[in-house]
Every structure is written in structure tokens, then in C-alpha cells.
Amino acid sequence: MLSAGERQLLVDQALALIEHLYVHLTLKRAMHAVDPLQRLRLLKHRSASMSEGAFQSELISIFTGLRDLHTIYILPEPYRTRVAYLPFRIEEYFEGDERQYVVTEVKPGTEDASFKRGVLVTYWNGTKIDRAVELNADREAGSNVDARHARGLSAMTIRPLAMSLPPDEEWVMVTYRAGSQTAERQFYWQVFEQGLPGGGNDPLAATGDLALVLGLDAKAELERQVRKLLYAPEAVEIAQRVKQQIDPVLGGGIDIAVPVNFAVVSKMPDVFAFRRVTTPSGQFGYVRIHTFYVSDDTAFVEEFVRIVGLLPQDGLILDVRGNGGGNILAGERLLQVLTPQSIDPERFYFINSPLALRICEANQSFADWRESIAQAVETGAEFSHGFSLRPVENYNDIGQKYQGPVVLVIDARCYSTTDIFSAGFQDHGIGKILGTSGATGAGGANVWGHDLLLSMLPSTDSPFKPLPQKASFRVAVRRCTRVGKRSGTLVEDLGVVPDAIHRMTRRDTLNGNIDLINQAGEMLATMPVQAVAAKVQTSVPMTVDVTTKNVTRLDVFLNTRPYRSFDVVDGTTSIDLTALKEGSNIVELRGFRNDQLVAGTRVRL
């Protein structure tokens, strides 16, 4: 339990963060009619007379009221590492306009002859299930209606106590329909201590460079990891086997009788899953990106490139549903491998405040932002100028690796880095977006932890003080805006709107998203396929044989300078390279159709 002094400290630190650094404060006040500062002041005034539960609940509620999954209060131990759960998962699908709630996972050993995968939940403690989800959604922080509903549904059976109010009820009476029979079963909420046996990183403990470029819904990432522990022991085992195979010392001594086949399993199995899918519209590649929460964004992009190289090149379904984000650089740098266009990364802005200026003055990494924040005293501007997180070259250093058409699949649980990735996908015209919700979760910011801020300003006059018992806060410090045709549009609270909607079917929820994949396949079949492939011939002079498909013009650049241009038809064109310089050279090939750049590749010599 926290002492009275520790409670005061927590509230003071929350006030400092929200009042002086929180970049969305004005937006949230306007959009959700909230006054977190006054609520914090009242809590500080009343906290001494409150019970532990009442204090924690109010502090959680103040942060939840911001409708911002980035900006959170992380409770101290023992809540921090505990997760409450019921031993099953509910997902929804539509019959006409009516939502149905189906049990899609049951913790092994919990099933019985009646309660099993596929039963429909109709009542929850005597309340109609739709209303129960709605009530739960009100306690969640999603920033639009779809996001709140999705979060409410997820929290029906999993509550990370680090960030969530514990359930009021100790047990749940579930009324369900199995075929024509209606039955009831009682389930008690259980609590366990979250570890990481399934691989992945602790979403509450981002460190190093990752802490600076974090764009993550930590609760969604925790829930994802918990679901893996509860329902997918095979996935946990494969993660351990991959770890052992790649690094036997760190892998923990699992005996590998049969090596993992990386032609069908990702080297990052917690991050990627992939396969070929055969639909009525053709055979395509399917890649699920479960999370962007990786410490090494380059390794992430390289593994994606390896995976798509194993899949059909005539169309890719890229499924990021449920992805709560992670490393913003991983999301933004991935865009380049799917398009021949240059990537224009999103711009990030601090709020103009003396504290933001102090942080930027203390850290060379934020030098770009300093001047405009310092000018604010004269300009009266609310936000700094916007800059990308890294120099633009960092987002274009690899180039296109997958040239076929791409359909991106999103839902309302996509958040932060996944929002930013989806926005970049749309803003660069990479492909079409298919949504199972009306928008993504709408988290548009870079989020920092209290521990990071403490390390940035460690002096005794710092506004940041160490927090008790591993309690912490996270706050959105740099908001982002979109580029291209939607330049300047906020991602926060608006999200990314898909080109088409797919309402989940019962077959989707119980049979591998079959109808969803079919619809994505239909979309892919309407999109043009093109290719520009290069093969180097080590003759003298050196030549490159370029095979083109569905492009009419080929431009060649040698070491970034224009070199040749050809009108082409499908087939192979040989290009002599007579102007190579000593050392390494880069040949870049750009394929056009109707004067539109549609495919590109680079060859390093």
C-alpha cells in the first residue's frame, strides 16, 4: 500500500506531466470535455482520507478520461505485474446489423461438453452482453467509438492491473447458447503474475533508443502477450525454439530435435506470421504483423523483406489488426519496402512550454525543435515546428522490395505506430486499406515514460522525482501529423479510415478469417501487378539484365544520377554499365506506366 506521502508524490508528478508536457491537453479538453488538472488537484486534496482502492481507481480514471491509450498511469507493485483474467476469449461478428459475441478461445483444460469454442454469449451477470460490453467500453480509454468498443470487448476477459481498474465482480455468470441449448456457467476472475515466457519485450519497460521512439498502446501489447500464454502454448514453444536455434546461449537450453524451418516460420515469431493463401481470386501472400514493439527496427525490416521474398509476388495481404504499435521507426521505415516512392515521414511536434524547452536544451537529439519552442514566447504558438524523428534518408535507405499490389487490413485496435504506419501507407498511395472497423484506434504521438524523463533531467531541481514501488506514468510528448494529400491532419482521435469495410463473419472468427481474406483477395485481383527485376552479368563491361512486367518506361540511375531511359515492353533489357566508379556503386531502376512510377529496385555493385 502507498503511504500518504507517496500518494501526494504520484499526484504531483502526474500534474507536472499533464500540465507542462502533455501535447494533447487542449485537444482532449475540447473533444472529450475533460479537466484532468482539476481532478488531479482534487485528488491531491482528498487523497489522505481515501482507501487504497479509491485512490488508485480515481488516478486510473483521470488518465482513462483523457481517451488516450498513450497517456497512462502505471500502478506500483504488486499491481504492476499482475493480470486478472477469465479463461476464455470473446470476439464479435455480425449477423445483418446485429453483433454476435462468440467464444473463440478457451483456456486448455477449462472446456466442457457444453462450454467450448463457438458458443454464443448472450448475457453477462444477467445483463445483455451488448450492454455489458458497452458499459465496459466506457471504462476504457479508446479515443473513438470503435476503439472504445474494441477495448471494452477485450477487457471483458483480460485486465492488466498495471493500467486497468480491477473487475468489480469476483465472478461472472455467463449465459450462452450452444446450438439450440441455452446454459449458464460461473467463472471466477483469477490473477497471475505476468512473465515473458512467450518471448517479446516488457511493454512497461522500454529502454535505450526504443524509449525515445515509442508509439505503443502498452495495455494492448500486454493483453496480446497474455492471450498467447493462455491460449497458444504451441506459439510459446515455437518462440522458445526459435530463440534457442538463433542463440543457443540465450535461448534457455531447449532441446531442438527438429530445427525450426525458417521457410515457414519467422525468425521473429512473436512479431510475424506468414503463409500463402488461396482465394477464389487467386493465390497471394499473407503476413500478419502482431506488433511493432521491437528494439531493432533494422532487423525488423530485414525480416519482413526475407518473409515477403518467400511469398507470391502478385499480391500481398498485410494484416495489422490488433497491433498496438511499438517502435515508430519500425513502422515508418517499413513503408519504403512496399513502394517505389520516396517516403516522407510524419512530423512530430512538442507542446511549447518551458519544460519542453528545457528538455530540448538538455538533449542534442531534440536540437531541431529548440528554436521554435524558444520563439513561442513571442509567437504565442501552441506547438513547436514539426520534424521527423530521424533524417529523411533513414526512411529511404533500403528501397522497394515487394512490387506486387498490397492490401492492408486494419481494425480499431490498431494504435500508435500502427496508426502511423497505416497513415503512411494511405498517404503514399501504397495500396488499398480494408478495415473491420470504421477507423484505426487513432493514437498519433510519440510517448515517453516518466523514467526516461527522469534520466533526461536528473538534477536536484528537476521537476521529475523517483516514484515509489515501480509506479510510473507515460505521456504523449510529441504529436504527429500526416503527409501528402492529408498533410497537417492529426492522427490522434481521427485515425485512418479504410477504403472498404469488411464486417467479420462467424466463419472469420472461427475459421482463420476466411471471408476477410477472400475479400482482401478480391481487392488485390483488381489491382495491377508489375515488376522490375535486375540480374547483374559480370562481363566486361558489366551489364545488368532488367526484366520488366507491365511497365512502359525504364529509367536507370547510377549512383543517384540519371544514366539511361528506355521505352520497354514485357521482357528483358540489357544495360551496359560503362561509367562505374571505383569502389561500390548503386544502380537504381525505376519502372513507369503512363508516366507514373509503379515499381523500383536497387542493385548494389
Binding site: 512473465g195 493462455l230 515455437i238 515469431p269 503463409r275 477464389p280 476466411i514
Partner: protein, 59 residues
């Protein structure tokens, strides 16, 4: 007179089921009991929510 070849039966695209192979990153476990044991091992010890909240003085 040669018999007329019966045209291949056309199947409407919407009636064709997508073939979605099972996820590749799965290993086979033998029984429900084996899966249940693996989950319990991964989770560690669980306790009722009531006991946890009473233990931390929540209420």
C-alpha cells in the same frame, strides 16, 4: 456423331472456399492435458481475484 463434350461445371467465385493453411508457426501437442499443462507452466501460479485484492488492502 460425336458426343458433345459436357462443359466443365462453373463454380461461382463466392462459393469457392479459400484454402487457408494452418498457421506455420505451430507445433503439434498431443492432448488437451498436455496443452493444459503447458499453459499452467507458462502462467505460473494463479490466485482468485478476491484473495489478491484482499491481500493488497484494495477494499
Amino acid at each position: 456423331m460425336t458426343a458433345r463434350k459436357t462443359p466443365a461445371k462453373r463454380v461461382a467465385a463466392k462459393d469457392v472456399k479459400a484454402k487457408v493453411p494452418k498457421a506455420n508457426n505451430k507445433t503439434k501437442m498431443k492432448s488437451v492435458a498436455e496443452r493444459a499443462a503447458a499453459v499452467e507452466k507458462n502462467l505460473g501460479e494463479s490466485q482468485p481475484l478476491r484473495d489478491f485484492l484482499n491481500g493488497v488492502g484494495w477494499r
